[in-house]
């Protein structure tokens, strides 16, 4: 599904190397988790994959189903099936959540040469999916993320994911700012989307999210590289002993 080879990235504005050779291969239908201390480059990886400005790729490649992601505009990556659930979902005053969702869904369908969803079909689908995530009609009407609580914003991200039906979902610290109940709700939303054709990359500081979204493979990222990979037990090791032991071991 996603194949990253030797990816090196620096900040565009300053001479600061963030990713120093990342290799990662995610098979269809699998859930990978990346854990790591602050500043290890986890969020940068998600931004570079989704096409945010401000980063310069100095070496390496990233491909989604064989297509070079790094050459594409962000909207083309999305149409190709990439989705990033933001750590800090952006507030957009003046744009209704529903309008936003419909614009996004139809833009992607159009880009893929599919027919646009009719207003009726769209409404039916969005209502059903919103209900599962306990998103009420009012939240759908309000401007995108404006006045939403932390939990509501994250649920709204998952709703977008559910509507857009991407192949490769990246969740950037989706657990940050969530209480236990909200985290469970978000995790259920994610689990409902797990399928053979869909892969996930879950970026998190803490093991607790991985209690709810069970990963197949866990990677530890430090200082711009993936330093260790393993099964779910690796996350438990981090939880119990912190990163220091692992980092010392690979140093």
């Amino acid at each position: 599904m996603l194949e990253i080879k030797g990816l090196e990235v620096k900040l565009e504005e300053e001479d600061k190397q963030i990713l120093k050779g990342v290799d990662l291969k995610i098979e269809p239908g699998t859930v990978h988790a990346i854990m790591g201390p602050n500043g290890s480059g986890k969020s940068t990886l998600s931004y570079v994959l989704s096409g945010k400005d401000g980063y310069e790729v100095t070496a390496g490649s990233a491909a989604l189903e064989g297509d070079d992601l790094l050459e594409m505009e962000p909207e083309d990556r999305a149409a190709k099936g990439l989705f990033l659930a933001f750590q800090y979902p952006v507030e957009i005053p003046g744009v209704g959540n529903m309008t936003f969702l419909r614009t996004a869904v139809n833009a992607q369908r159009k880009a893929r040469g599919e027919e646009e969803l009719s207003a009726g079909d769209f409404l039916k689908e969005v209502r059903a999916k919103a209900k599962d995530l306990k998103i009420d009609a009012d939240m759908l009407k309000r401007p995108v993320n404006v006045g939403f609580s932390g939990g509501e914003k994250k649920r709204n991200e998952i709703l977008q994911m559910a509507m857009l039906e991407p192949k490769m979902c990246i969740l950037d610290e989706t657990d940050s700012g969530l209480d236990v109940d909200a985290m469970k709700l978000v995790a259920e939303g994610v689990n409902a989307l797990r399928s053979e054709g869909r892969s996930f990359l879950v970026i998190t500081h803490y093991q607790r999210l991985l209690d709810h979204i069970k990963p197949d493979i866990v990677h530890i990222m430090a200082n711009g590289r993936i330093v260790k990979s393993g099964g779910p037990e690796l996350a438990l090791e981090v939880e119990n002993n912190g990163y220091a032991d692992i980092l010392a071991e690979v140093a």
Partner: protein, 428 residues
């Protein structure tokens, strides 16, 4: 002193050959008085503080440069709205193209007919609010309009008007120079919506005087036409009585020079006065000026000024807005916001927000900002598959939303939003 003398000499020279229209009755004296006001104030120059950001030269000059007639195959604005159409072509009333000047709850007449009627309500309004509005700031171009306006419409609203009245200003002659003066008198408890659309002329001076009596409601939605070379100066004077509502919204596309002045006076308690505007301008020749003066002279009044401008390729936007709260106008709630979205580094926005408050129990706020498109929001939208250009349109419309929300009728607002979207799509 020398400057004042020079200004008067220039004014006299400019007015020497001007012929004031003559009618049968009261209009002649009113026009003569207005002309005297112009002579006393002098025509504006760019040395005047009130014209610091907008050069009035091409508005005061004896003639006007031609403005090419703009041809479009777009359906006319508000085509689907059931309305009374009152059509002016290059500033001249066109009876053929207009509907019957009749609807339930309103009396509509041509200004000339009102001026030829000895005893007419228009006598107590024509030039009256303009004269009141000359203090504390001179508005000589409004007085000039009162003196010279050749046509216009007068509307008396006696009940709830059964449909909106749409003044349509068509432009067919590249060199037309038009002056129109309209009156609206909303009687106690009556209600009307006035629509104004179209460019009118190569150069257009237009004045609207509105009297809203107790418990009356006046809604005003205006779209100045898309003609690229149009020059326009407009004045709207309103006197707003107790428990009444005045709401005015203006959308401006294109034009080289537009100065829209709105002078509102709340004279009765518990009244509401809102004025809002959106302009979108492209290119160095685009200059748009909103000048607003709201006076609170009663208890518990609410006023809002909401102005948003989208400027690109070196366009210039100006906002001069004032809230004056007079002594005793307690519990006034005044709000003013002027914002520009600058789509490049060459465009500029000049804002002069002012508050002058002589009452001690009021809530007044004002704000003014200039900014670019929010890159974070742009990326967020693009990451969901929305193309760069569509995302920019969406964010631009969202920037304009607060002003568009001032239009109460959703259908009218939607019409204007669609036109804005079209403009944004054409200007990528």
């Amino acid at each position: 002193m020398a400057l004042a003398k020079q200004k008067m000499d220039t004014t006299e020279a400019r007015l020497a050959d001007v012929v004031v229209p003559q009618g049968a009755t009261w209009g002649n004296a009113v026009r003569a008085d207005a002309m005297a006001r112009v002579r006393q104030m002098g025509l504006p120059t760019k040395r005047d503080e009130y014209w610091k950001y907008t050069d009035p030269t091409s508005l005061t000059a004896a003639g006007t440069p031609d403005a090419a007639v703009f041809i479009t195959d777009e359906a006319p604005l508000f085509a689907d709205v059931d309305r009374v159409k009152v059509v002016f072509v290059d500033g001249v009333f066109d009876a053929e193209a207009s509907d019957d000047l009749a609807a339930e709850g309103v009396e509509i007449e041509r200004l000339a007919d009102a001026m030829d009627t000895d005893i007419h309500w228009a006598k107590d309004l024509y030039g009256v609010l303009e004269t009141r509005g000359q203090n504390p700031v001179h508005r000589p171009l409004a007085a000039l309009n009162t003196a010279l306006a050749t046509d216009g419409i007068v509307i008396r609203v006696t009940g709830k008007a059964s449909k909106p009245i749409n003044l349509i200003y068509l432009h067919n002659d590249a060199s037309s120079d038009a002056m129109l003066h309209n009156l609206v008198k909303v009687e106690a408890g009556a209600e009307v919506t006035l629509l104004e659309t179209g460019p009118a002329a190569a150069r257009f001076s237009k004045q609207l005087e509105v009297e809203v009596a107790e418990g009356g409601t006046f809604h005003h939605v205006r779209a100045q036409g898309r003609d690229h070379e149009r020059r326009a100066v407009t004045h709207c004077f309103a006197r707003i009585a107790a428990n009444s509502t005045f709401k005015s919204f203006t959308l401006t596309f294109n034009g080289v020079l537009t100065r829209n002045e709105c002078i509102l006076e709340i004279v009765g308690d518990d009244a509401v006065a809102h004025v809002a505007g959106v302009c979108v301008g492209d290119g160095k020749d685009f200059h748009h000026d909103d000048t607003v003066f709201v006076t609170h002279d009663a208890l518990n009044g609410e006023s809002r000024q909401v102005f948003k401008k989208v400027l690109r390729n070196g366009a210039t936007g100006v906002f001069q807005g004032k809230i004056l709260v007079k002594e005793g106008a307690q519990k006034t709630d005044g709000y003013q916001i002027s914002q520009s979205l600058l789509l490049d580094d060459d465009s500029q926005f000049l804002a002069k927000p002012e508050l002058e408050i002589y009452a001690d129990d009021v809530a007044c706020s004002h704000g003014s900002t200039s900014g670019a498109i929010d890159e974070t929001a742009l990326f967020y939208l693009r990451s969901r598959g929305v193309s760069h250009d569509d995302a920019r349109n969406l964010l631009t419309l969202s920037f304009l939303a607060e002003a568009l929300e001032e239009i109460e009728d959703e259908g009218l607002a939607e019409d204007l939003r669609a036109r804005l979207e079209g403009w944004l799509t054409r200007h990528r």
